[in-house]
C-alpha cells in the first residue's frame, strides 16, 4: 500500500460485525429502553478493527501539510511557526481541568493570565482596554462594529448607519458590517494601492458610523495617510476601526492606538502564534480607546485589591448598549494562554524584532523575484506583497498553474486571486520565523517554475504530479460538491 496515495474512506473499510473492542460479560441483566428512545434503523456507522482505524487516520494525517511540514507563504494568513512551548503550557492540567463555573477563588491563576494578556495586548496596540471574548477574527470584527453602533445609539445619534470599507479590504469587513445591520460604502484605492483620500472626502457625513481599515493593507502597503483619514473620520463624528489581520509587521514598531484608531481586533492565531488554518480554533480579542470602555462585552476580567474578579452584567436577557454579549465565557481560554506564552517568551525586547524581520523577509523575496513575476506596485512592502502573475504573459501559464506547480516542489501555495485588484494576484507572506536558507530555497523554486513556464508551459499547466491527487476539476467541485458519503454512493449508483 502506498501511503501517499492512500484514498479510502473509513466507510469503505467497514465490514459488518467487525469490532475494535470487546465488552465484559453483562452481569447486570437486561434493561430495555422505552420504545420512543430506540432507533428505528441501524446507525450505519463504519465497523472496523482497531489496527485498520489507526492506520486509516495515520495515513490521512500524513497527507496533511502544515507549517511544521514546510514553508507556508499564504498571504494575509501569517503562517508563522507555533512554538512548542505554547502547546506545553496549554496542555498543563492546572489549566485544562478548569471549569468556567468554578468558584472564583479557585481560578485566580487563570484570571491572572486573562488580565495580564488584556494589559499586554492593550500596551502592544496602544489601546485603553481589551476584551478577550470573541472566538475568531471575524467575530472580533462583529464585536468591534457592535461597539461602534452601541456608542452612537447610546448618544442618541441614530442616523449613523454606514460603514466605509476600502475596495482592497478582506471580504470579512463588508460581511461583518452587514451582519451588524450597517450599510457598506466602498472607498477606492489610488494607483499606488492606498486609500484614496480624495475619494473618501465626499462620502463623509452625519450618517457615517465609522470606517474600517486594514494596515498594512491587503497589498502589504503601509497606509501613509492614516493621520489625515483619522482626522476626517473623527471630524464627521465617526469612529476608526483597525482590522488587525496584518498587525504582524507593526509589532514593536508602531501602535494603532497612537495613529488615532478607536477600535481594533487582533488575530491571536496570526500575529501571536497560535495554530490556525485547520490546526486549531482562533481568538479575536478587541481593543478599544478610553471612551468605548463602558461598551466592552461582558464578562470581563478586572483586578481589585482582593484579587481578580469577573465583571458581568446583572440582566443578560435584555439588550442594552452597555450589555453586549458575544460569547458565554471569557473567550477561547487555551488559545489565549498560548498567545500569552508567546508574548512572555519573546518579552518586550524581542517582540520588537518580529515586525522588522517579517518585513525584511517579504521585501527580500519580492526583490529577488520581480524579474520573473509582475510586480504591479513596485515599492517597499511590509509583511507581504502581491504579484500579478508571471511577467511573461505569452506562455498562457496562470497564477493557478504556478500555485499548483509549487505543491510539486513541496511548498504550500501562496494566496491566489486575492485581492481582486489584479487579475492574476499572488500574495506572498513569508513571516519572520523562516530562515534565509528556507527563503532562498523558495526563491530558487519560483525561478525554476518561471523557467518551466517559458520552456515547457504544458508541464506547469498540468501540475501537480507529486501530490496524493493530481489537478482537481475546480469547476466541477464548485458546481457539484460531494459533501457526504451517502451522496457519493448515490452519485456512483446513478452513473452506473
Amino acid at each position: 500500500m502506498n501511503n501517499k496515495l492512500y484514498g479510502n474512506l473509513i466507510f469503505e473499510l467497514s465490514h459488518s460485525g467487525r469490532r475494535a473492542y470487546s465488552l465484559p460479560e453483562n452481569q447486570f441483566g437486561h434493561h430495555t429502553l422505552p420504545d420512543f428512545c430506540k432507533r428505528e434503523k441501524d446507525a450505519e456507522l463504519p465497523e472496523c478493527d482497531e489496527m485498520t482505524v489507526v492506520r486509516h487516520y495515520t495515513n490521512h494525517s500524513e497527507n496533511n501539510f502544515g507549517v511544521d511540514n514546510g514553508f507556508y507563504p499564504l498571504g494575509s494568513c501569517t503562517m508563522k511557526y507555533n512554538p512548542v512551548i505554547n502547546e506545553e503550557v496549554a496542555s498543563m492540567a492546572s489549566f485544562t481541568d478548569l471549569h468556567p463555573h468554578q468558584p472564583i477563588e479557585t481560578v485566580q491563576g487563570a484570571l491572572e493570565v486573562e488580565y495580564n494578556i488584556q494589559r499586554a495586548l492593550a500596551s502592544i496596540t496602544g489601546m485603553a482596554d481589551v476584551t478577550l471574548n470573541p472566538y475568531a477574527g471575524a467575530h472580533g470584527e462583529l464585536t468591534g462594529l457592535m461597539l461602534i453602533a452601541s456608542y452612537h445609539q447610546q448618544r442618541g445619534d441614530k442616523k449613523r448607519t454606514k460603514v466605509i470599507v476600502p475596495d482592497s479590504a478582506h471580504g470579512t469587513n463588508p460581511a461583518s458590517a452587514a451582519v451588524c445591520g450597517l450599510e457598506i460604502v466602498e472607498v477606492k484605492s489610488t494607483s499606488d494601492g492606498l486609500v484614496d483620500v480624495n475619494d473618501l472626502r465626499p462620502l463623509l457625513g452625519d450618517d457615517i458610523a465609522g470606517m474600517m481599515m486594514t494596515n498594512p493593507n491587503t497589498l502589504g502597503l503601509f497606509e501613509k495617510d492614516i493621520p489625515e483619514i483619522a482626522k476626517l473620520i473623527h471630524e464627521c463624528g465617526g469612529l476608526l476601526y483597525y482590522d488587525g489581520a496584518n498587525l504582524n509587521p507593526l509589532l514593536g514598531a508602531a501602535r494603532p492606538g497612537d495613529m488615532g484608531f478607536d477600535v481594533i481586533h487582533l488575530n491571536l492565531h496570526k500575529t501571536f502564534s497560535t495554530p490556525h488554518g485547520g490546526g486549531g480554533p482562533g481568538a479575536g480579542p478587541v481593543g478599544v480607546c478610553e471612551k468605548l470602555i463602558p461598551f466592552l462585552p461582558k464578562p470581563h476580567v478586572s483586578k481589585t485589591k482582593d484579587g481578580f474578579v469577573i465583571e458581568d452584567s446583572e440582566n443578560t436577557e435584555e439588550f442594552s448598549t452597555a450589555n453586549i454579549r458575544i460569547s458565554g465565557y471569557l473567550g477561547n481560554f487555551l488559545v489565549i494562554l498560548r498567545a500569552y506564552t508567546y508574548i512572555l517568551t519573546l518579552g518586550k525586547k524581542h517582540i520588537k524584532e518580529v515586525g522588522p524581520f517579517a518585513t525584511l523577509s517579504a521585501n527580500y523575496i519580492k526583490e529577488c523575484l520581480k524579474d520573473d513575476y509582475e510586480l504591479p506596485i513596485d515599492t517597499l512592502c511590509k509583511h507581504e506583497f502581491v504579484f500579478d502573475g508571471l511577467k511573461d504573459k505569452s506562455t498562457g501559464v496562470t497564477t493557478m498553474d504556478v500555485a499548483k506547480r509549487l505543491l510539486d516542489y513541496g511548498y504550500h501555495a501562496p494566496t491566489i486571486y486575492f485581492p481582486l485588484l489584479f487579475h492574476e494576484a499572488m500574495m506572498i507572506e513569508p513571516t519572520e520565523t523562516e530562515s534565509k536558507d528556507t527563503i532562498d530555497g523558495f526563491i530558487e523554486v519560483m525561478h525554476i517554475i518561471a523557467k518551466e513556464a517559458r520552456e515547457n508551459p504544458e508541464l506547469v499547466k498540468g501540475a501537480p504530479y507529486n501530490t496524493p491527487i493530481g489537478r482537481v476539476d475546480d469547476v466541477l467541485a464548485a458546481k457539484h460538491p460531494i459533501l457526504t458519503y451517502r451522496q457519493l454512493i448515490n452519485d456512483t449508483e446513478e452513473s452506473v
Partner: protein, 126 residues
C-alpha cells in the same frame, strides 16, 4: 486580446447592452469572462423585477471570485437566460451570444453614458 463587438454599449464594470428597439439584452463582456475565469454560477433577477441603473441586479461566481452585476441601464426584466442556470460556463464560451437578462428600457437616454466599442477597447487596454 478580448473580443469587442461593434454596435453594443459598454459599461466601466464590463457589462454590455445590445439594443433592439426598446429592448436591451444585458450581459458581461468577453474581457469580463476572461478575467473571471471559469464561471460556476449566475445569480439572476426574476422576470418583472425593476432594475435601476448602477444598482446590483445579480452576481457571477467563478472559480476565482464572486462579482456583482451592475445594471448599465434601468428597466423592467422581461426575460432571464435560463440556459445559464444549468450551464453557467456558456458565458466563457461566448459572452456576447449568451446574454444574461432581457429588459424593457425605461430611459434610452441612459445609453448616452455608456461607451461604444472603440472607447471600451481603449478602456480595457489601459
Amino acid at each position: 486580446m478580448a473580443k469587442v463587438i461593434e454596435g453594443l454599449y459598454y459599461s466601466e464594470s464590463h457589462e454590455f447592452v445590445k439594443v433592439v428597439g426598446n429592448i436591451g439584452y444585458i450581459g458581461i463582456t468577453d474581457y469580463a469572462q476572461h478575467a473571471l475565469g471559469n464561471v460556476v454560477y449566475v445569480d439572476m433577477p426574476d422576470v418583472d423585477d425593476d432594475i435601476e441603473i448602477d444598482d446590483d441586479f445579480g452576481a457571477i461566481e467563478s472559480v476565482k471570485a464572486a462579482s456583482d452585476l451592475k445594471a448599465p441601464v434601468s428597466g423592467k426584466v422581461i426575460e432571464v437566460n435560463e440556459n445559464l442556470e444549468d450551464e453557467p460556463g456558456l458565458l466563457n464560451k461566448d459572452a456576447y451570444e449568451n446574454w444574461i437578462i432581457k429588459v424593457e428600457l425605461s430611459d434610452t437616454a441612459e445609453l448616452k453614458n455608456l461607451m461604444d466599442a472603440k472607447a471600451y477597447e481603449e478602456f480595457c487596454a489601459e
